[in-house]
Amino acid sequence: MSDRPRSPAFYALAAFFALFVAFLYGPTLTILVLSFQGPQGGLTFPMNGVSTHWFGKLWAGSGIVDIWGALWRSLRLGLVVMVLTVGIAFFAGLAFRKRFVGEGALFTVAVASLIVPSIVVSLGIGLEFRLLDDAVKWAAAETGWGWLQEHGTLMGLYTSALGAHLTWTLPFGLLIMFAVFNRFDPAYEEAARDLGATGPQTLRHVVVPILGPSLVGVALFGFTLSFDELARTSQAIGGRNTLPLELQGLTTTVTTPEIYALGTLTTGLSLAVIGAALGASLYLQRRRARRGLRLG
């Protein structure tokens, strides 16, 4: 097939693909350009001069609610979710290579967690923590113990919101681990065992280095999915919002290009993370290939 000349269909499909890419990236490029509007500029074209006025305003934090606090919270939560997703999905992937009772059930639950509508999951977690709070309040009244009295709510960034994010990132992580272990040759582990390596040694010196690039991929999913998560967080977070929630609120209230500046900033941040992850993954692959060559 590959030695045949290009068919007319190829050019039609290539044109379609180009249009799709324009559709995918065009709008984002528009707000990138518009975020450099002059001070008098509005939400649409034409450009009224070119300036970094709106970035300056954003930096000063004047117009918009505590956006830096929200950004900081989202970053921290994203990092925690990333670390937990990689760790938990990696070990679950290992477990699924051995047989264990309930593996079918766990897999079904993971897939279900992916396809149950986010609002339902979010509502459930919100309810759970409200009921927990009620239970604590009741216990405090019953027992009169001092340490129970002053508790506000258990709902928060590292409790309910973290859990909500994990229900979204872990299924992706597990599915990636499945694909990865499918292509993993157990001969490497056997060789390590034959040479006298213990289980943890085999993991640390053989399995993890070989899977490194894929684990970076899982990390990328963990961080970016958490950093942009909105629907599952919405009912499962206490008083302080994450960045996507603040952004959603801003869509109805902000009428200046400042919101575009914010969009450019967060998109740039996401792209930097994606770039770093792809770079790290490529680097690990190259290093592995180089070392494999030297050892082989």
Binding site: F45, T167, T251
Partner: protein
């Protein structure tokens, strides 16, 4: 294992001499298996725990609370089907449909349109990358180009339509500049159109990835065979590629359907907070602290989504395909 003549017994003797070690070996084997199995439980435990605490228990609590009573201040443990009655109130009246029915119909309309467009676009894009791009590296690069936006903020990607679709946006300006329209088209933004547009914009990736994955596994020799047997391009597409890409199509469809059915963010932002959706009803009730009502709506939504998924898998017979 019959006990035959002496020769056989003699031949069996060495084995008999070894006999004591056999159970020991078996025992150590089972001990090893048991250790491996215990390790497997330990390794799977964190994930099981997360899903139990943040997924299964919340779903059960939702089901439980959907039968509770509530007033303006608190929710009251009891058993009532009033919440469900409220959901379906007036739904037997054929003349003017109840709110629930109208909302579901509107959401289903978004669902059907989004599904159709994401399927057509996603399939075409995946087909191009999988079958018409020859270099493996270029394939991966193009695939990456399609997936990168998935890792950036959805809200920002929605907002980015404002300068294009607004009353004085790029689309209206261009059309007026070309003299095709006399005055700006209203309702490009904050309308059903913009909602579906944003859904397609955000969710096509969920079609591309699984369909591409299915297509990448199709043996190229099959296409050669079809070509050699005289099949036209369309015949090959219809009789070879599409049937073999069905699992990917099914997985992508399930993703798109559940994402659109439960959505409240896209409909909210792109509909200018004016268009109803099932997810939005739940969100509004939740913020009004009508938790049992929200829970009942969530249970109904979950049931509806599950029905659609079951219908989908029946239609495609996923098991047979895998």
């Amino acid at each position: 294992m019959s006990r035959g003549g002496g020769a056989v017994t003699e031949a069996a003797l060495p084995a008999l001499a070894d006999a004591p070690t056999v159970p020991a070996a078996a025992a150590s084997l089972t001990a090893k298996t048991r250790r491996r199995r215990a390790l497997a439980y330990l390794q799977a435990a964190p994930m099981a725990l997360v899903f139990a605490v943040f997924f299964l228990v919340p779903l059960l609590l939702t089901l439980m609370v959907s039968f509770w009573e509530y007033n303006e201040y608190e929710i009251i443990p009891s058993f009532t089907v009033q919440n469900y009655r409220d959901v379906f109130e007036g739904c037997l009246d054929v003349q003017n449909a109840c709110t629930t029915l109208r909302t579901y119909l509107s959401t289903l309309k978004f669902c059907a349109l989004t599904w159709l467009f994401t399927l057509l676009i996603g399939f075409t894009v995946a087909y191009f990358v999988a079958f018409h791009v020859r270099s493996r590296n270029v394939q991966m690069a193009l695939f990456l180009v399609c997936t990168i936006p998935f890792w950036t903020s959805n809200v920002i990607r929605m907002i980015s339509w404002i300068p294009l679709l607004g009353r004085n946006g790029l689309v209206n300006d261009t059309l007026m500049g070309l003299g095709l329209i006399a005055r700006p088209i209203e309702g490009l933004l904050y309308s059903d159109f913009s909602v579906v547009l944003a859904f397609v914009h955000l969710n096509t990736v969920f079609m591309i990835v699984p369909i591409f994955n299915s297509m990448a596994r199709i043996d190229r020799a099959l296409l050669e065979a079809a070509y050699d047997a005289g099949a036209s391009g369309w015949q090959t597409l219809w009789n070879v590629v599409i049937p073999l890409a069905k699992p990917g199509i099914a997985i992508g469809s399930i993703f798109v359907i559940t994402l659109v059915m439960g959505d409240f963010v896209t409909v909210g932002v792109m509909g200018g907070q004016q268009i109803a959706s099932v997810g939005k009803i739940i969100q509004v009730q939740m913020s009004a602290l009508q938790l049992p009502a929200a829970a009942a709506n969530a249970v109904v939504l979950l049931g509806a989504v599950m029905l659609m998924i079951v219908a989908m898998t029946r239609l495609i017979d996923l098991r047979k395909e895998l």
